[in-house]
């Protein structure tokens, strides 16, 4: 039966736990003469059976374990920013820590993406033995032009930067002929793009797997929030007095909020029909208002992009500053929209009368939608400009000739501007605010208070930046390197801001629930990034795909060049029969896994009910009712003497007999009522 399978698995897991490290009850063990003599005896026996296989295996296992432990410690000491994150954890707890470790993850991801792009796309072009440069430019031009031009070029990705490895237009569509082989650059470009998207997906899914497992096991209802706060609420890592005070205040606030939530839930249950109608009507109106605001923002972005493209086309250099503003107009509008809308949403949600937990989540969803859709609108407006290329005489020539370069430039500008904004907000908004609060005596300043370090908004910021990076890497291959440097600097900026300028949010963000949330939003960004790449029509004048009708055509062209057997095999893989059967097999596998998960959940519920029954029967037995040993009836063969709940399990049973043992450590003597049992006796009972 499943049950017997379960307890057999449990006993074997206890045995396997025995091989993992356990707690040393050193006080009982090492301090006796008997132990010493036992060890002496064992050592002598070992010397006698030198060739004995088991001894050697045990020794080898211990040695390997020690080696892996040392390796792990070495590797973890090499992790980037270990001491900084340790410091932050001590001062602010695990909620804010999750933001910084997320940032570290993004730095690593961007670095890997850049290395992949560099090795497969840039390096072959750099070491090309026969470079052909279509665009010739005068070397001396650089010296004669005003230095303003250089800075403008650097900030907008145009001019001299168009003729570097930065942008798509520079890469050529021919094969690179090396002495040994020919390297098909278009194919490499396409495959590298697919590769880095797949790599990002796998890495994110791997990271979120742990959080997801826990999410599945959790009950749907808001469970145990009180127990969780009392028993797992205090962060034992906290070492500074101010952090302890903050933690205490935040726990207090959380408990009070929870009590308030209970009261509100009661109130909501008491709502009359008339109240409900009124509230639903109000919610519909407010949602329509929100949609209206979003539509206005999107229209502004569209208008700004169109204006910026047309202004660029006019090619009249008015003034350095005005030109810069024209270039950056879409970025400015997007940033403004992303700044104003969260404030608006947090005001609106107060009138919609949801439960507090739902309010936070809903506002966040709206902000995520706003941020990611603004990028989509930017791309859409560029695409609509592109459509007018053939017909409209005053459309942007550069856009029509090589639109990928334009898109790459827009993404580049967005990244640079994002970085500048983060830097300036920290320097010019938070810092003066802190000065104001500290030195100004007026009560208004005190009420305004220091800037709150709101984790969700900060996370949205970096997810937004990462989405731009993913979209932009196809059009601007050096963008991951720029993003790596950007996130590297942001770490130190945010750390400084956190320590000097901010106070932690009054409503603390839970590390466990946030882990899943960050990665979920990142996945949405990744999906958004896949779209423009999959529906692109390459321009004929520039770039690696100028010879093809779509960028995907590089694949069939490469397949054609393969030998006949490989071609047949790949044709088979691409045929309908294979696709359909693969799809069917995947569906079956998915159904199987879903069914398995459902079955596990059912078993867990059943076991939980059985546990309740055992405890109830146990208490009846202790009251004198004639109940036979309840535990062994309901869980045959699976009980410790005395039943659950009467004694604490021995720590030794959890850890196991890895240590040189004999005696076990008795827990604090007054707490043990039943006779302490030796580990092997315990294991025998379980069998």
């Amino acid at each position: 039966s499943y049950q017997s399978l379960l307890y057999r698995r449990k006993s074997s897991s206890i045995k396997s736990r025995g091989s993992s490290k356990g707690r040393l009850s050193i006080s009982g063990r090492l301090n006796t003469e008997r132990r010493k003599s036992q060890m002496e005896q064992r050592r002598m026996e070992e010397r006698k059976n030198l060739i004995s296989c088991r001894q050697w295996k045990a020794g080898a296992r211990r040695y390997m374990k020690r080696l892996t432990d040392d390796a792990h410690t070495f590797l973890s000491s090499m992790k980037l920013w270990r001491s900084d994150i340790h410091q932050i954890e001590g001062m602010f707890g695990t909620g804010i820590l999750s933001y910084f470790s997320f940032l570290r993850f993004l730095v690593a991801l961007n670095l890997i993406i850049f290395l992949v792009m560099f090795c497969f796309v840039m390096l072959p072009m750099i070491i090309d033995p026969h470079p052909i440069r279509n665009v010739t430019y005068n070397e001396h031009q650089g010296i004669l032009i005003n230095y303003h031009e250089h800075i403008l070029d650097l900030l907008s990705g145009e001019g001299i930067l168009e003729r570097t490895y930065l942008l798509y237009g520079f890469y050529k569509s021919d094969e690179i002929r090396f002495p040994m082989f020919t390297y098909k650059l278009p194919l490499a470009y396409l495959l590298t793009t697919l590769g880095y998207l797949l790599l990002s997906l796998l890495w994110i899914v791997k990271r979120s797997a742990e959080g997801f497992k826990r999410h599945l096991i959790k009950d749907e209802d808001r469970f145990q929030s009180f127990c969780n706060k009392i028993f797992a609420g205090w962060d034992f890592c906290i070492t500074s007095e101010s952090a302890a005070k903050q933690k205490r205040n935040s726990l207090l606030y959380e408990l009070k909020t929870d009590l308030e939530d209970e009261r509100i839930k009661q109130k909501m249950a008491d709502r009359t029909r008339k109240d409900k109608c009124r509230i639903y009507f109000l919610r519909v109106i407010l949602n329509m208002f929100v949609i209206g605001v979003l539509a206005v923002c999107f229209f502004c972005i569209y208008a700004a992009t169109t204006f910026s493209q047309k202004a660029e086309n006019r090619n009249k250099k008015v003034n350095f500053i005005v030109d810069l503003i024209h270039e950056y107009l879409p970025s400015i509008v997007i940033t403004l929209a992303n700044f104003i809308t969260p404030l608006l949403f947090s005001v609106i949600i107060n009138f919609e009368d949801y439960s507090p937990a739902f309010e936070i989540r809903f506002t966040l969803m709206r902000c995520v939608f706003m941020r990611l859709t603004s990028i989509a609108v930017l791309l859409f407006s560029l695409w609509s400009q592109l459509k007018q290329c053939g017909t409209d005489p005053c459309s942007n020539q550069k856009l029509c000739n090589c639109w990928e370069t334009r898109v790459g430039q827009e993404m580049y500008k967005l990244t640079i501007f994002d970085f500048i904004i983060i830097l300036s907000v920290t320097l010019f908004v938070e810092f003066p605010r802190k000065m104001l609060v500290h030195f100004c005596k007026c009560p208004l300043a005190k009420m305004w208070g220091l800037q709150e370090f709101s984790i969700p908004q900060n996370v949205l910021e970096i997810v937004y930046g990462q989405t731009i990076c993913w979209i932009g890497t196809f059009y601007c291959p050096m963008l991951p390197a720029i993003c790596t440097i950007k996130y590297f600097c942001i770490f130190y900026i945010k750390k400084l801001s956190l320590i000097k300028n901010c106070r932690p949010a009054t409503r603390p963000f839970r590390a466990s629930s946030s882990h899943f949330f960050f990665l979920g939003v990142l996945l949405i960004g990744l999906i958004l990034a896949c779209l423009p790449i999959s529906i692109s029509l390459p321009s004929q004048a520039c770039g690696p795909f100028s010879n093809y009708n779509t960028s995907w055509e590089a694949l069939p062209a490469a397949v054609e060049a393969l030998p006949q057997n490989a071609k047949n095999f790949i044709n088979l893989l691409g045929s309908e029969t294979f696709a359909v059967s693969f799809f069917v097999v995947t569906c079956l596998a998915m159904f199987y896994v879903i069914a398995l998960a459902g079955a596990h959940k059912k078993v867990i519920n059943q076991l939980r009910e059985k546990l309740v029954m055992v405890c109830r029967l146990d208490s009846l037995q202790s009251e004198g009712w004639p109940v036979k040993n309840p535990c062994t009836e309901i869980f045959p063969g699976f009980c410790v003497t005395g039943g659950p709940g009467q004694t604490l399990p021995d720590p030794e049973a959890v850890s196991g007999p890895e240590c040189p043992s004999g005696q076990i450590h008795t827990a604090a003597p007054q707490s043990q009522q039943a006779e302490p049992q030796l580990p092997h006796q315990l294991l025998q009972q379980l069998q």
Partner: protein
């Protein structure tokens, strides 16, 4: 690394490494921390296993424990005499259980001991109230404290006896998502 030190014999260090979650270096570092607490009491040479215990008052003054509201209970649960006097082995024990690598089951056992103020193997309402007051430094009103403790027992109690046995506690703590990340001390 191990050849130059004279504090422990090699066998002792091996045993420590096998039985705790620390490496040799960390054991030596722990010993220096232990020694710092009372240089005149703690011998530098542990090869003949001296019987030396440090009182509670010295240990709760450590920076890692100073701000912890449960510091007294933590030290008491790891001491053999229940009064908080720790020998070096118990000291290492304590930090080993509270380290990142200890498994959840082990931490749950000790968490239960720590929160059990009257040491009766049950977390009754008084235990919870004491825990909550230590956590919030008595800034909740008594009615709020009572309400919170009632709700907590309601959430976790399976057998309906109005107090939490170890089974209830363990069942609850396995579903508490923050437990592993908060119940650890870095040393």
């Amino acid at each position: 690394m191990g050849n130059k030190q004279t504090i422990f014999t090699d066998e002792q260090l091996d045993a420590y490494q096998d039985c705790t979650f620390f490496t040799r270096k960390e054991i030596l570092r722990l010993h220096s921390r232990y020694h710092e607490l009372a240089p005149h009491l703690v011998p530098m040479d542990y090869t003949n296993e001296p019987d030396c215990k440090l009182p509670l008052a010295l240990i709760v003054d450590m920076p890692e424990l100073k701000e912890n509201p449960f510091r007294n209970r933590i030290v008491e649960s790891f001491s053999e005499d229940g009064m908080g006097n720790l020998s070096f082995n118990e000291f290492v024990d304590m930090f080993s259980v509270l380290s990142e690598m200890a498994p959840r089951e082990l931490k749950a056992i000790y968490a239960f001991k720590i929160y059990d103020y009257n040491v009766d193997n049950y977390l009754c309402k008084e235990d919870l109230e004491k825990t909550l007051n230590k956590l919030t430094k008595e800034e909740l009103t008594p009615e709020e404290v009572e309400l919170v403790c009632e709700k907590a027992i309601e959430e976790a109690d399976l057998d309906g006896d109005n107090k939490l046995s170890y089974a209830d506690f363990e069942n609850m703590i396995t579903r508490a998502p923050d437990f592993l990340s908060t119940f650890h001390i870095r040393i």
